[in-house]
Amino acid sequence: MRRALARLSEWVGREETGTALALFRIGLGLCVLNVIVPMLSLGVHRLLLVDVSDGGYRTIRADWLLELLGGPSVAGVERLSVMTGLAGLLLALGLGGRVTAALTLVGCISLFKLNTEAGGGHDRLLTNGLWLVVLSNSTATLSLDCLLRTRRLLSDRAVSAWPRFLAVYQLVIVYTATGSQKMGVDWMPWGGFSAVYKALLMPSWRRFDMSWIGPLYPLTQLFTVLTLIFECGAVVWLLSAWFRDTRDRPGRVRATFNRLDLRRVWAVMGIGMHLGIQLFMNVGPFSWVTLSFYACLWHPDEWARLGRRIVGRRLGISGRSR
């Protein structure tokens, strides 16, 4: 027990450069814009998020923030949306540190709870991510804050690593929870593994006419099985991190994990799944929000190496952990 606590304490005390958290921040900031801009430009908020007394379809209750901004009226909701959108933009640009992150978070919380019937899992995942950004120093690098502080866009300033670890943990939680709840008969062998086939035909979510997929049914069955394996097996990411961290210890399973880098295998599966969902279905920004979390799967050193490979020159950051 004492050894476990010591390890936990050491793990929480770790520091690293801020590249991964910065990418996470940028992704979430862009996702906020992806939510706000279409909603405002199409006027959806006037119908779904505004109280019936001002043109909405149902009674809407305002929380403290919306009351400050004018209540559940068109003007109030638009102020809240614009504020949240601007905060999201500043978050993506990395200006204002945790204050901007907190403003984006409270704006999103206030906005999303106006009508939870018109929301989805992406709202919850977005606010979960934004809270982790508030907890982290996500503008240490790749940000206007960094530019103002150092006159460079990149910095190897050390930041706490634990928010990144919690982001990975949240990702594993999402997949494990959703995988374990796929209990409908369509996910089962005795249901023909027909879940993906049926999901692609759901009128609420399909992006275009999918009546051509009949002959591809065996492929959809395979994707059903792969989805279950991927989601229920997402704990692989935690195991990979543990085995990498303890690579000096013996063990065949540990050696296999470290040799094969199953973290990457699972990430490729996940990226493929989400891009496939994005191509054939319209489930809002869920795929983009989730993929933002993927930035945290890799250590900043690994992102720095990738950056050097892409740019073809030294970026001038060390990515050293301490």
């Binding site: 936990l8 304490s9 929480v12 279409p38 909603m39 199409l42 006027g43 119908l47 779904l48 019936v52 001002d54 909405g56 379809y57 149902r58 978070l105 999103c108 019937e117 018109a118 929301g119 899992g121 919850r124 606010t127 979960n128 934004l130 809270w131 634990w162 919690l166 943990y169 949240q170 999402v174 494990t176 929870a177 959703t178 374990s180 709840q181 796929k182 209990m183 409908g184 008969v185 369509d186 089962m188 005795w190 249901g191 027909s194 086939y197 049926k198 035909l201 009128p203 609420s204 979510w205 399909r206 275009f208 006419d209 009546s211 051509w212 997929i213 009949g214 319209n282 489930v283 809002g284």
Partner: protein, 224 residues
């Protein structure tokens, strides 16, 4: 950094991890509502999911199996509610709520929203919108926007008809803005059975029947 501050940080990380873990434990949607357990789709899903285990359930008939599932769900929810209660104020305040049931079961009989207009109740009716139809595409961008889709999806599952009625009243006014000739706007959820792969015909919509038909005279309410 002082050891006390670090200790607090460790405690917070553990608290947060515990909170999101416990809250992510499945909470069956609608498990406490009577309507859930009389819903034919829910019954089919529960019975279908338990089919391989019927031997373990003795000679219980379908109603008894549903009653058992309901009792177990209720007990589980009571336990879950007690366990997560201390964490709820925190997760609500910081947006760390969980709840990841996504496509847990698929709707065998989904529905598409259809909107028709007529200059009188006796018709003739003109269809102006059918969900995901490329030609019957009134205000398509608005209807395809993800929050509108999410809302309409509830009614594909025949959930919350009261909200549907409120929606149709408001949407009728919107329709009237674009179709001033209309005296009546009709909304319906066109329910169809998902075809089996060998029944699916490219470019052909499966036969659908109307449900939740709502006709709204326009202007339906006092204008803003």
């Amino acid at each position: 950094m002082s050891s006390r501050w670090h200790g607090l940080r460790v405690a917070f990380v553990v608290f947060h991890a515990l909170a999101v873990t416990l809250l992510s434990v499945p909470s069956p949607v609608g498990a406490r509502q009577d309507s859930t357990w009389t819903d034919p789709h829910v019954r089919q899903q529960v019975l279908g999911g338990l089919e391989p285990f019927r031997g373990l359930l003795g000679d219980r008939d379908d109603d008894a199996v549903i009653a058992l599932a309901r009792a177990l769900s209720s007990s589980f929810l009571d336990l879950r509610d007690a366990v997560i209660a201390p964490f709820l104020p925190y997760t609500r305040a910081v947006g760390a709520g969980q709840g990841w049931q996504m496509f847990g079961s698929l709707n065998d009989r989904p529905a598409r929203l259809r909107i028709r207009v007529a200059s009188s109740v006796s018709g003739p009716w003109q269809t102006i919108y059918l969900a995901r139809d490329p030609e019957l595409a009134w205000r398509r961008e608005l209807m395809d926007e993800e929050r509108t889709r999410a809302l309409v999806n509830n009614w594909s599952w025949e959930r919350d008809r009261s909200q549907y009625k409120l929606f149709t009243k408001r949407w009728a006014r919107l329709v009237a803005e674009d179709h001033p000739e209309a005296a009546v706007v009709e909304f319906a959820m066109m329910r169809f059975k998902v075809p089996a792969p060998d029944e699916l015909q490219p470019g052909v919509d499966p036969p659908a029947r109307e449900s939740w038909v709502e006709r709204v005279a326009v202007p339906a309410q006092e204008p803003r």
